[in-house]
């Protein structure tokens, strides 16, 4: 009986979202109250369900499609974490979205996203999970589209990109069903054959695209400009990472049992490594606060994918821990960006400067989060990155080098960002600038605090949340506490120092924080690449659109031909037939009597003489 509590995390936000959109005349903040109640209730329920192990299954359609939900330590962890993040961002959104239009749709999509995420995490049956996955896609479209003018194009782009990867996912699920005969996630074991590998790749592509890895990433920077900011903090930063990495872990650990050093493992790691590098290089040259953060979101996924792809315990634990940490500091960073946007009215780095004095709390949270993301000890990012480096080193030096370069560039770009936005000369327009309201500061502070906590006291997350996930694969290791490999620590510290030196040198050279990394931007080979990237040359979506245009033209030609057939030939024929029949009806009753006699004689002939 208690198992049916599992539907609560799905239904509480769903009903709250539907109620919120209905309240058209915005009276007395009822909408916000409903949302807050819903996220609070969700948090309480997920906390209560945290260490239970429930499962229930209702047979529904045939072919193994059941409604089956299950909670165990991994899904409980994801559920609780997303509930907490959603609660904080809901609190934040109250002040941020106050007075903006399309408020009701914002809360509807927010709640629906939370509901579907809970559903996807709890779902044990692949088809049910696919249902929630696709529901998230639809909600994503709406969520981006309410951002303002021109946001519909970005919403469509996101829809198409994730739609394509969802098709991969569907193909993977279909293949899984035909290989294993079951759609129940805990029962699926893909065989180590070629077809099993194909299924694995399809499922993996679906999972990592949700998380925002390359090559399905190009919508995130566009959404940073067009969508409302709490969306960025909630979805690309937090919930999508949770979902994508959760599913990736389940694929790699439960469903496929990836082996260390196998070709598939190397493929996954390569994708991760490329993502880290390419995204962070793009992040480096951005001039907008939010776009820079969004490229980093893409880049950090690379670490997670790399970690899980190593298929060694230390790497996997590192990847999952990195996911948790990333959510914390990336959400915090986006929230600071939102508070800057709200107070200063812009996120263009060339227009900002010197906000640190006016917005000290925001600056403080930014500092903590930036240090975490760069991997500075003793914040949480450092510990998870160390675990990932350890795993990468075990699998191949090239991956380790890629990860370390990524760290270098990450640190450099955050130095640039922090300097340009918060330090430096204060612009005259910001003389009356105030700190953001309290309701917006509380979530930022909470997240920053958690960054520090999970860093300093890392046994807490590792023992309670993450290491139980691996179960037997852990092989008895315990990764809490300080990292053991001293060489890695020294290398990390050296890279960080290098980044600081690089930034100071660049600043001295050009005199402005934004141009501090120009020497990388305009380096000989990289200049050409950056140029093309800025022109969206490498964007798979835009390339695809051009191809689609040609196909559309030929389809139109064929359609015209078919149309001609139907409107000229078929209609003409019918008209001729109809006209001749109508001409036969002369109105003379004698004619009708003759018809009757003819018909009668046919009848008699047929019956009597055959």
């Amino acid at each position: 009986m208690m198992e049916y509590l599992l539907i609560l995390p799905i239904f509480i936000p769903l009903i709250a979202g539907l109620l919120a959109v209905v309240e058209i005349n915005h009276k007395n903040y009822i909408r916000e109250a409903i949302s807050l109640l819903a996220v609070a209730a969700n948090l309480i329920v997920t906390y209560a369900l945290f260490d239970k192990k429930y499962a229930f299954s209702i047979p529904w359609a045939g072919f193994g499609m059941d409604i089956s939900l299950r909670i165990y330590h991994f899904s409980a962890f994801i559920l609780l974490a997303s509930a907490a993040v959603a609660a904080l961002i809901a609190l934040y959104s109250i002040m941020f979205m106050n007075g903006r239009e399309k408020n009701n749709y914002f809360y509807l999509y927010f709640m629906l996203t939370l509901s579907f995420t809970n559903g996807a995490v709890l779902a044990e049956n692949l088809i049910l999970m696919l249902f929630f996955w696709e529901g998230l896609l639809a909600v994503l479209l709406g969520f981006i589209a309410i951002g303002g003018k021109g946001s519909f194009k970005t919403a469509l782009k996101a829809f198409v990109i994730i739609g394509v990867s969802d098709l991969c996912l569907m193909f993977g699920i279909a293949l899984t069903y035909s290989l294993c005969g079951t759609l129940n996630m805990s029962e699926v074991t893909l065989p180590m054959t070629f077809m099993g590998g194909v299924a694995f790749i399809s499922l993996m592509l679906g999972a990592i695209s949700k998380a925002g890895s390359m090559p399905f990433h190009s919508w995130i920077p566009d959404a940073a400009n067009d969508a409302p900011l709490p969306f960025m903090a909630l979805i690309p930063a937090a919930l999508e990472k949770f979902l994508g990495i959760y599913f990736l872990s389940r694929i790699c650990l439960d469903m496929y049992k990836i082996e260390h050093g196998s070709p598939l493992s190397i493929t996954v790691m390569t994708i991760g490594a490329i993502t880290i590098l390419a995204a962070v290089m793009m992040a480096l040259i951005q001039k907008d606060y939010k776009k820079l953060l969004s490229y980093h979101a893409i880049s950090q996924v690379g670490y997670m994918v790399l970690g899980i792809g190593t298929a060694v315990p230390v790497g996997i634990v590192g990847g999952i821990f990195h996911m948790l940490n990333h959510v914390l500091y990336k959400s915090c960073l986006f929230l600071t960006g939102g508070s800057v946007e709200r107070q200063a009215g812009t996120t263009d780095l060339s227009k900002l400067g010197g906000l640190g004095k006016k917005m000290p709390v925001t600056f403080g949270c930014f500092l903590v989060a930036a240090l975490s993301i760069s991997g500075v000890p003793p914040f949480n990012g450092f510990f998870s990155k160390e675990l990932v480096y350890d795993g990468a080193l075990e699998s191949g030096t090239v991956f380790y080098i890629a990860a370390v370069c990524g760290s270098f560039l990450t640190a450099a770009s955050f130095l640039k960002l922090g300097h340009a936005a918060f330090l430096g000369k204060e612009q005259p327009v910001f003389s009356k600038l105030k700190e953001a309201p309290l309701l917006m500061l509380i979530p930022m502070l909470t997240l920053a605090g958690l960054c520090i906590l999970f860093g300093v006291y890392n046994p807490l997350p590792l023992h309670t949340l993450i290491q139980p996930i691996l179960g037997a694969r852990l092989e008895g290791h315990d990764f809490a506490g300080l990292p053991t490999n001293l060489f890695l620590v020294i290398a990390t510290v050296a890279v960080l120092a290098l980044a600081v030196i690089n930034h100071i040198w660049g600043y001295r050279r050009t005199g402005s924080a934004i141009k501090a990394v120009d020497h990388i931007h305009y380096a000989p080979l990289l200049h050409g690449l950056y140029d093309r990237a800025e022109r969206k040359f490498f964007d798979p979506y835009d390339v695809g659109l051009k191809l689609v245009n040609i196909l559309a033209l030929s389809a139109w030609r064929i359609d015209r031909a078919i149309d001609y057939f139907y409107t000229k030939i078929v209609v003409g024929f019918t008209q001729a037939a109809s006209g001749s029949i109508k001409a036969c009806h002369t109105g003379s009753h004698a004619t009708y009597i003759v018809w009757t006699v003819v018909g009668l004689s046919c009848m008699i002939y047929y019956v009597a003489f055959r």
């Binding site: 009753h589 009708y592 018809w595 009757t596 009848m603 019956v607």
Partner: protein, 475 residues
């Protein structure tokens, strides 16, 4: 109990012709309304209320059949009669004429009620003649030239039908020995001993019924009679007279097992298919609203006969359901045409356009009727066509099933043509002060539209109660 339906109506007709003429002229309409509503209620009364009167009736040789086919027919008669009465009240302005119409309507209903409950072939024929006689008078009711011509054609072809039916009755009597339904059922149950004479007798009777129901090529009278008759009479004709006089008897014969010889079934299929096609083709691009609806009626009766030709229980169920649906839908469409005519004075579709803006109720119910009759879900027409197609398919008549589906396209096209011409598009000049039709036109059309929607959505629920007693489904 159903005898009461005949006795009450007869008593009513006699009474309202008694001396205090002015008084009776006033209450005639309301009396008829009351009686038809009473008939509607009768159908839904539980059977237990009827047993006492049943024994009374059967002991006096007024044996009547009371299975669900008769109930469905009584229900259709009541509904269409009510609709025709309401439209008559709106259409006929003079009180004298309305009185005459009411008397004739009651007499016609006596005939139809009698037809659907009797258990003897000759009595069936007799009540059919009552209906025909009443309908002749009703068509020429308004005494214009077109009406005379239409009624005359109906009369002449009905005379031929009468001849054929009597000849059929005579032959059947001499071979089978008795004309009651039970005797026929027993005779035709034993397929080995069916003589050629009996088959020819049934064939001649069927030919008469074909003329009465308006199958091709016996349909010559139908478009002219429907078009020329006054609006309430057209509703009556299209909704129930053709069905109860012609098609009901065919269905009854089928359910008695009389249509067992393969040749008879093939005839039904062939004539049914030809009727669907020719009716639909002739309905396309018609200019006169009522004439188009008349050809459409011919086409739909073809569907009913096609379903009968399948010869299975499912086929009969489909035929009965389609009969009921057609009664409802055709009445609805004719009410709409009457409404449009009452406000614009014309039936020429070329002169119409864009009326939906000014006549929203008429337009909306007309759309519902058109979609339902074309077989679009979730209306009731879809379900009856579906049952027909499945019955044909299951009986192994794959080509006929495919043909039925394709012919639905034709139905949809001429209905859409009508909708487009009359209701949609831009409003034609000169009609800026067009008003919605009177309440007495809107009320029946809304009720009929609600019935079709309700049956359509609730079909999975009623399939067990309404259709099951008639035929047992096994999907």
């Amino acid at each position: 109990m159903t005898l009461l339906l005949i006795i009450f109506f007869l008593a009513a007709v006699l009474i309202i012709n008694l001396p205090p003429k002015a008084f009776f002229k006033k209450i005639a309409f309301w009396l008829a309304l009351f009686l038809l509503l009473l008939q509607l209620v009768f159908v839904f009364l539980p059977r237990s209320l009827w047993t006492g009167l049943n024994t009374l009736c059967s002991s006096n040789n007024f044996s009547m059949v009371q299975d669900s086919l008769s109930m469905v027919m009584l229900l259709s008669i009541a509904i269409v009669g009510l609709v025709a009465l309401l439209v008559a009240k709106a259409h006929i302005k003079s009180e004298n004429k309305l009185f005459n119409f009411v008397c004739l309507l009651l007499l016609c209903c006596i005939g139809m009620n009698g037809m659907v409950v009797v258990t003897d072939l000759f009595t069936l024929y007799l009540f059919l003649e009552i209906v025909a006689a009443a309908v002749y008078i009703m068509i020429v009711f308004e005494k214009n030239q077109n009406a005379y011509e239409g009624a005359f054609k109906y009369f002449i072809l009905s005379a031929i039908a009468t001849t054929l039916m009597l000849a059929g009755v005579g032959l059947t009597l001499s071979t089978v020995g008795a004309l009651s339904f039970t005797a026929l059922q027993i005779y035709f149950a034993n397929t080995a001993q069916i003589s050629a004479g009996a088959t020819i007798g049934v064939l001649l009777f069927m030919a008469g019924l074909f003329i009465k129901s308006g199958l091709v090529p016996f349909h010559g009278w139908l478009p002219d009679a429907y078009q020329a008759a006054p609006n309430p009479v057209s509703i009556l004709l299209a909704g129930i007279v053709t069905k109860s006089s012609g098609v009901y008897a065919l269905v009854r014969l089928g359910m008695l097992g009389v249509l067992v010889p393969e040749s008879l079934k093939t005839l039904l299929l062939a004539f049914g298919a030809a009727t669907i096609l020719i009716g639909a083709l002739a309905a396309l691009w018609q200019k006169d609203f009522k004439r188009m609806l008349a050809y459409s009626s011919i086409s739909q009766v073809g569907y009913i006969v096609l379903s009968l030709g399948a010869g299975t229980l499912l086929g009969y169920a489909g035929a009965i359901f389609h009969m009921f649906n057609h009664a409802i839908l055709k009445s609805l469409l004719f009410v709409n045409s009457a409404a449009v005519e009452s406000r614009t004075g014309t039936r020429d579709m070329d002169a119409m356009g864009g009326f939906a803006a000014k006549m929203p109720w008429t337009g909306a119910t007309s759309v519902i009727g058109a979609l339902s009759i074309s077989g679009i879900p979730p209306f009731s027409g879809f379900w009856s066509k579906l049952v027909i197609v499945i019955a044909l398919w299951k009986a192994g008549l794959h080509y006929y099933a495919a043909f039925a589906i394709l012919a639905s396209l034709l139905t949809l096209s001429y209905m859409l043509y009508m909708q487009r011409k009359v209701f949609f598009g831009k409003l034609i000049e000169g009609y800026d002060d067009l008003r919605e039709a009177g309440f007495l036109y809107i009320l029946p059309s809304v009720i009929l539209a609600l019935i079709t929607i309700g049956l359509g959505i609730g079909f999975p629920f009623i399939v067990g109660t309404m259709l099951m007693p008639v035929a047992i489904f096994n999907w």
